[in-house]
């Protein structure tokens, strides 16, 4: 029973209900910045939700914090630095480039280069192999089989 309760508690922030706050912004640019930020910052207590989609109290607080900083003229970068200082890298949905994330950011392009490399090698080698020439007897058999197939 306890486990069920734990499950329910864990699930509740995941539930779909975004609080809607009617913030007023000085100008459209600030509103746009705010939107980008709450979309890219993570709600820390939710399973996998950004601030924009979360109803958790912490997310509401963080949205208010973001709003106040945007309104007071902080740039996006400043707000991100502030959030990371306070909550750690976990708060960013765009992981920063650092030693432990090198593989994450470089990986896809590395895999791509390797994939295309192997492909080119494969095609080149394929073309160096001699073409197997069928004897006339084999040819006739193959033709017979093909005719059968199409019947």
């Amino acid at each position: 029973m306890r486990r069920i309760l734990v499950l329910l508690v864990l699930w509740s922030p995941l539930l779909a209900f975004a609080n809607i706050e009617a913030y007023r912004f000085d100008n459209p640019q600030k509103e746009a910045d705010y939107r980008v930020l709450i979309a890219e910052l993570r709600c820390l207590v939710c399973q996998n939700q950004n601030l924009a989609d979360s109803n958790a109290e912490l997310a509401q607080d963080m949205r208010r914090q973001t709003y106040e900083m945007v309104q007071s003229g902080s740039s996006k970068e400043e707000i991100i630095v502030y959030m990371v200082q306070r909550y750690g890298d976990f708060v960013l949905y765009r992981p920063p480039f650092m030693p432990s994330t090198v593989l994450l950011w470089v990986g896809p392009f590395l895999i791509f280069a390797v994939g295309v490399g192997i492909l080119l090698l494969f095609i080149r080698r394929r073309n160096q192999e001699p073409v197997v020439q069928l004897s006339s007897e084999e040819h006739a058999r193959a033709k017979g089989l093909l005719d059968q197939e199409t019947k």
């Binding site: 209900f17 809607i20 399973q47 765009r94 192999e129």
Partner: protein, 658 residues
């Protein structure tokens, strides 16, 4: 009593699955005909018992048998009947039961519809699927039994997760599972071909229609899941790169590569080893997805470590299946000799490149999904990998795919000259670049490079596909088009057109959507995206098993009435509030209104309004692709093969009697 019957049925299904896993494969190996003949009855027996088990759990839901723990935790007496039926697969144990039922369903159907395939081959295929069944039935019976009883049954059950109380739930998981599990057929055919040592084009021909159908199901499942998230979650998004979403998307990507690769293997005898590998990967990723979703590792690496019984079982099972098949592959692949030649400029190269890109994309998504888990498990740090990462990796990797979709179809098999190909493609290239930029500059609210790129790619696919039609029609023109193109050809046409539609949807909706959160009073109106939204207030009322506030928003455009929307905010008995958005759907735009909460006493509410241009095209593209897949699966050749086999059997039996 009924739950015990269900329990017994599962145990009997396990026995059947064991028979199915052991005897047909051993019989095929040793040449014992009577063992081979066990494949079909064992598979059908397993299907029978799985159906009984599943029916018992459904009965428990319908009869509100709260002595079954699973029923008590996931339903109550006021739940509408639709959600009693779909609630069966709404949580962990039931969804596993459903997974396994789906697997036995696929197995049963394969035994019934494979008359054109040699009996020994079918036996091996059924045997491999039996091995998978054994794993899942053991997992269910040992760690996740849906029929566990409660000593003191409660008078009333809890609630089904309100998120899942939606018609979308009734269709999304079944479609997804049909797709996921359907890849087991391609997998089983590949393994069976390797076991038999016959890796020719034949296995590709046999498994191709199955793979296409599985892919169609998976496509539809993902499309419906995305659509469901869009209208049910209330935040207007259609994809969040959540690990659970990725778990279904990775097999889809590899499945897409497999569908293409199978076509080449069947038609040209090329890529034999590669196709086998893709079949293994597609199903392995389905299993990995199940592991990610079902083991709890996503919720928390640490929670997983403290209660690892489920996770460890799946991990072991995964390593047996994936490790075993890769071992078999490394042993057999060296024997595959391909004598097919093609040059750099050929349709083969185009398809291989497509496959490589799809593979790289799937690997990148896997990397992004597992990376935070691994870092956390190693204690190196906690990071989040979300949409900004996936978008910046996914878009540059997949944009070339749209280009290849056009080039590939027009390039010749084996050998084409770069010059003639370039000459052929020059006109569509010019038109799509010109047209894409022109449209972005003049038809859209403001210029954006992303939108221009999207439109150029979409036009490119469209134009190259039209050019392909013209080529196929030849001198006969339009009449030739309908005469010369097979259903599989049309499948390719619609599938690729789906890419164009999808790209338009993604580009336009992500760049030109506008939204506003605001405080609005009764009688006030707000202007967004060219529309006026007039709020007429909200009223409290009751639904079947919830209370709700229901708002009324009248939308008009330049004074003309467009739609009346009724966004709801529901309170379910479990105490969870849910938003039910009011949506006016349209081919060129969606209007989306979500109700927040009351502000003050004078009837003011907080409200969220979205204007989402072309969002429907995202799903429409998916539907096009699924339609294409369906056409390819229904190609006349397969029916001809089946008919031939039936005639042969009939001739044989007639001959036997005489």
């Amino acid at each position: 009593m009924i739950p015990e019957i269900g329990q017994l049925a599962l145990i009997l299904a396990l026995c059947m699955a064991l028979v199915q896993a052991v005897f047909p494969i051993a019989g095929a190996h040793k040449g014992v005909a009577s063992w081979v003949a066990l494949a079909k009855p064992a598979a059908l027996g397993q299907l029978l018992f799985m159906t009984i088990g599943y029916a018992c759990l459904t009965y428990g839901f319908l009869e509100h048998d709260f002595s079954i723990r699973y029923v008590a935790t996931n339903s109550n007496t006021s739940l509408p009947i639709l959600y009693l039926i779909s609630g069966v697969w709404g949580a962990h144990e039931g969804s596993l039961l459903f997974w396994t039922l789906t697997l036995s369903l696929w197995t049963g159907v394969v035994t019934l519809f494979s008359r054109s395939v040699p009996e020994v081959m079918v036996a091996r295929v059924v045997g491999v699927m039996g091995v998978v069944s054994v794993g899942f039935l053991l997992f269910m019976l040992l760690t996740s039994n849906p029929f566990v009883r409660l000593m003191n049954p409660p008078l009333e059950g809890r609630d089904l997760n309100p998120l899942l109380q939606d018609p979308g739930l009734a269709i999304h998981p079944p479609l997804l599972y049909m797709g996921y599990v359907g890849f087991s057929v391609a997998f089983a055919f590949a393994i069976a071909a390797m076991l038999g040592g016959r890796l020719d084009a034949a296995w590709a021909r046999w498994s191709r229609p199955w793979t296409n159908i599985a892919w169609v199901f998976l496509t539809l499942g993902i499309v419906i899941g995305s659509w469901w998230a869009y209208y049910e979650l209330g935040w207007g998004g259609w994809w969040f790169w959540d690990p659970v979403e990725n778990a279904s998307f990775m097999p889809w990507i590899i499945g897409t590569a497999l569908v293409h690769s199978l076509a080449v293997t069947e038609k040209r005898g090329a890529f034999k080893a590669w196709t086998v590998l893709l079949a293994i990967f597609a199903f392995s990723l389905s299993l990995l997805g199940t592991f990610l979703v079902r083991s709890g590792v996503l919720t928390s690496v640490h929670a997983f470590a403290t209660d690892p019984s489920r996770g460890v079982f799946i991990l072991l099972f995964l390593s047996v299946i994936i490790g075993g098949s890769l071992l078999l592959y490394s042993w057999r692949a060296s024997q595959i000799r391909s004598s097919v030649h093609f040059t750099l400029f050929s349709r083969e190269t185009g398809l291989l490149l497509t496959n490589v890109i799809l593979m790289v994309t799937a690997c990148s998504i896997l990397l992004g999904t597992l990376y935070p888990l691994v870092l956390d498990a190693l204690g190196v740090g906690k990071i989040s990998v979300g949409p900004p990462y996936f978008n910046s990796v996914f878009i540059p990797l997949t944009a070339p795919l749209a280009v290849l979709a056009g080039v590939g179809a027009l390039a010749r098999w084996k050998r084409d000259s770069g010059l003639s190909l370039a000459r052929k493609l020059a006109l569509p290239m010019l038109l799509s670049v010109g047209g894409g930029f022109a449209l972005t500059l003049w038809a859209l609210p403001h210029f954006s490079w992303g939108a221009a790129l999207g439109l150029v790619l979409a036009l490119w696919v469209l134009l190259t596909m039209l050019l392909w039609l013209k080529e196929q029609g030849g001198a006969a023109g339009l009449a030739g088009v309908f005469k010369n193109i097979s259903r599989a050809g049309w499948g390719m046409f619609f599938g690729h057109l789906g890419i164009a539609v999808f790209v338009v949807g993604v580009a336009l909706t992500s760049i030109y959507s506008t939204e506003k959160d605001l405080r609005i009073e009764k009688g006030q109106s707000y202007h967004l995206g060219g529309y006026d939204f007039l709020f007429k207030g909200a009223e409290r009322s009751a639904g079947p098993n919830y209370l709700m506030d229901r708002g009324e928003v009248v939308v008009s455009r330049e004074g003309e009435h467009v739609a009346t929307l009724f966004p709801e905010k529901r309170d379910y008995r479990s105490g969870m509030p849910m938003t039910e958005a009011g949506i006016d759907a349209g081919l060129t735009r969606d209007l989306f209104v979500a109700l927040g909460e009351p502000l003050g006493k004078d009837g003011a509410w907080s409200l969220r309004i979205y204007h989402k241009p072309f969002v429907r095209w995202v799903w429409l593209g998916g539907l096009f692709m699924a339609f294409g897949g369906l056409l390819a699966a229904l190609d006349k050749r397969y029916f001809r093969l089946a008919r031939k086999a039936r005639l042969e059997t009939e001739a044989n039996t007639a001959g036997g009697k005489a």
